[in-house]
């Protein structure tokens, strides 16, 4: 029997009992819609959280904390050699590596001053790693520096009239009225340091020229008061402090402690190292590789993996709950199909008597229940999309009413990925055909003679 004829046949049969078929389709579509809407909340929440993670951090970043070595005595820090290894690895786009000045530097410009984090960076690597300037250019000369976006906001005029506590707000930032409101670009600022030398505190000033200002950090709450200097400036600082990385000596330090800070001729070590992958898919293999090499690392993908596992479990749970609704609908389909078979016993008997194949008869009934499943799923998917849109529209209003707060970002609580809709259609057809299996089998078992005698 041709597919087209089967379909025709099924349509004709279904027309004979429209209301019953309609009710069954309705039940199936309710089950489908319930399943999709329920799961869509899981998908929506996952998408929201994953997007949040991806948005805030460079997803391609692998941070390296240190190194595990076989010998405990060996230094677990990251050296130039390690950096070169990272650079040589496959799929690595750039390696950001910084050395922080181990002091409490103060940056001054005229009457304004403010605390800062001063680090030596390799400008070329930073640029490759995705460092962007909001204004100015990258340093070329050795005394040129770039500064963090918020550095100016950390600077204020020190005076006797205002107490320190008054200058800062609760976030530890300088209040707006005290902030420096000038641009630092193309200006010379001084990096000022103190060191305890020969029994008293000495102060030194290192003038550098600001040529560029970095972009705002991705996260709102991040404030950058960085100053990125060249290695030459660090060497000047070290010459003054007499310690590595400009480390501070305290008056009450013991002799050997001071010595360990002074020890010279050692390799440079980097305390802020990030490997940037070529693209997101490569992060995992790079992370694994680095771990195998014994580095302590962190990457967002690890977090993403965990988030995704949690959500996979949540979604499977929701789908199972939703499937129960579909199973209840399948009882209806079973009923409908059983009745259809009973009603058509004579027709089936006649068809068998004149050469109808049992396989064909079974396939007709299976198709018929599958067809009900399909129609139910299509209606259900459409309804689910409408409900989902409704939830997303109403949610902000409800939140506003109940919590008296408006959302700054649009939250899509319910999200239906196309494949969820497809899964539901497949599930619905599958469940429908499964529940049609027994009635279809019953149809093939109909005894020709009893059917022809019309005594069933």
């Amino acid at each position: 029997m041709r597919w087209k004829d089967r379909l025709n046949f099924i349509r004709q049969n279904m027309k004979k009992n429209r209301s019953r078929v309609f009710m069954t389709v309705l039940a199936t579509s309710i089950g489908c819609a319930f399943l999709i809407v329920l799961a869509s909340v899981g998908f929506g929440a996952q998408r929201y959280i994953v997007n949040d993670l991806m948005q805030d951090r460079a997803i391609t970043e692998v941070t390296i904390y240190g190194k595990q070595t076989s010998e405990d005595s060996e230094s677990p820090e990251i050296t130039k050699e390690d950096i070169e290894t990272f650079k040589g690895m496959e799929n690595v786009k750039a390696v950001s590596h910084k050395m922080r000045v181990q002091n409490e530097p103060v940056v001054t410009n005229g009457e304004y001053s403010g605390s800062s984090t001063v680090s030596v960076v390799d400008f070329e690597s930073e640029e490759k790693a995705g460092l962007n300037l909001s204004s100015g250019r990258m340093p070329e000369a050795e005394n040129e520096v770039i500064i963090g976006h918020h550095l100016a906001q950390f600077m204020y005029k020190e005076s006797d009239e205002t107490a320190e506590a008054e200058v800062f707000n609760e976030e530890g930032l300088v209040k707006e009225e005290y902030q420096m409101d000038e641009d630092l670009i193309d200006k010379t600022v001084n990096i000022e340091l103190e060191q305890y030398k020969n029994g008293e505190w000495e102060r030194a000033s290192f003038p550098v020229k600001v040529v560029g200002v970095m972009e705002e950090p991705a996260r709102d709450w991040q404030k950058s008061n960085d100053v990125y200097i060249s290695e030459k400036v660090l060497e000047d600082i070290e010459a003054f402090t007499g310690t590595k990385y400009g480390a501070v000596i305290h008056p009450d330090m013991k002799e050997n402690e001071v010595e360990s800070l002074q020890r010279n001729g050692e390799e440079r070590i980097y305390n802020d190292v990030q490997v940037i992958a070529g693209d997101m898919e490569k992060v995992e293999s790079i992370s694994q590789h680095l771990k195998d090499e014994g580095y302590h690392i962190y990457s967002v993908t690890e977090e993403l993996d965990q988030v995704n596992i949690v959500f996979a479990v949540v979604k499977i749970g929701l789908i199972i709950v939703g499937t129960i609704a579909l199973l209840i609908a399948s009882i209806g389909i079973y009923n409908t199909m059983s009745m259809a078979v009973t009603e058509r016993t004579q027709d089936i008997g006649i068809m068998k008597a004149i050469g109808g194949h049992p396989r064909m008869i079974r396939s007709i009934f299976l198709m018929e229940s599958g067809y009900i499943g399909l129609m139910g799923a299509l209606v259900g998917v459409a309804v689910a999309y409408i409900i989902s849109a409704g939830i997303n529209m109403l949610l902000p209003i409800v939140i506003q009413q109940v919590f008296d707060q408006s959302l700054d970002k649009v939250i899509q609580l319910s999200y239906i990925p196309p494949y969820l809709a497809l899964i539901c259609v497949a599930l619905s057809i599958g469940v429908a055909m499964l529940s049609g299996l027994k009635p279809a089998k019953k149809a093939t078992k109909i005894d020709v003679l009893s059917a022809l005698r019309r005594d069933v």
Binding site: R2, K16, M351, A353, I354, G355, P358
Partner: protein, 232 residues
């Protein structure tokens, strides 16, 4: 064409622990040649329908063998029987057995639809047959909108649509009046002559026996006479 060899059949009645065997056919032997019209007669309950049902594959014999068209059908499975029926056998029933929700056209078309014949070819063949049985004007009528004679003509057309070499008919004239009966019998004779279709017809009727080449008489499940109709 059809060969029946020591065929016996018994029904089982009663509940499991009290089952009784009811022998209905006992050791039947007969042969039907190609192009013959054979009538089966006998009293009610003599086993005529049972014999025909065995030949149709609706029931399986308890003993003996059955050959149709040189093929041993005794041990055919259900699906094999289905294929065999749609190839070699046409059926006419006393109560027509048309599908009430289908029009005359659709009822005649049904065997071709089930065989997967193309729509174009189906239309060609059904139209021709409708013409032949004189029902061209009734193609869109449902069985309930046709007279008994017309319904039986639809069912004959349905039996003929696959061009079977054999047609099995259980009291085909049983529900018809005299005039319609004669019409049908004429048509059967014509088909037999022109297309060499073999007919096996169960009947109570003298008229039917008259057009038959041979009459087989059953009595209490036994074949008691098998004679050529001299009158023909």
């Amino acid at each position: 064409m059809i060969k029946v060899e020591s065929l016996s059949h018994a029904f089982y009645v009663g509940k499991k622990n009290n089952r009784q065997e009811v022998p209905v056919l006992r050791d039947i032997n007969l042969q039907i040649q190609e192009g013959e019209i054979v009538s089966i007669v006998g009293r009610s309950g003599s086993g005529k329908s049972t014999l025909l049902n065995l030949m149709s594959g609706y029931i399986k014999p308890t003993q003996g063998d059955l050959y149709i068209n040189e093929e041993r059908v005794t041990e055919f499975k259900e699906s094999k029987w289905a294929d065999f029926r749609s190839e070699h056998l046409g059926f006419i029933f006393q109560s027509f057995q048309l599908i009430p929700s289908m029009t005359a056209y659709q009822n005649i078309e049904l065997p071709l639809v089930m065989k997967g014949i193309s729509e174009y070819e189906r239309k060609r063949r059904v139209d021709k047959l409708l013409e032949r049985v004189g029902l061209s004007d009734f193609r869109e009528h449902y069985p309930s909108e046709l007279s008994g004679g017309q319904q039986q003509r639809v069912s004959v057309a349905r039996a003929l649509i696959v061009n079977p070499p054999i047609i099995l008919a259980d009291e085909p004239t049983g529900s018809l009046d005299q005039e319609t009966e004669i019409e049908l019998l004429d048509f059967i004779q014509k088909l037999n002559k022109e297309e060499k279709i073999t007919f096996v017809i169960i009947t109570h009727d003298e008229e039917v026996a008259q057009i038959a080449d041979r009459t087989i008489r059953l009595e209490d499940g036994r074949l008691v006479s098998d004679r050529e109709e001299a009158a023909k």
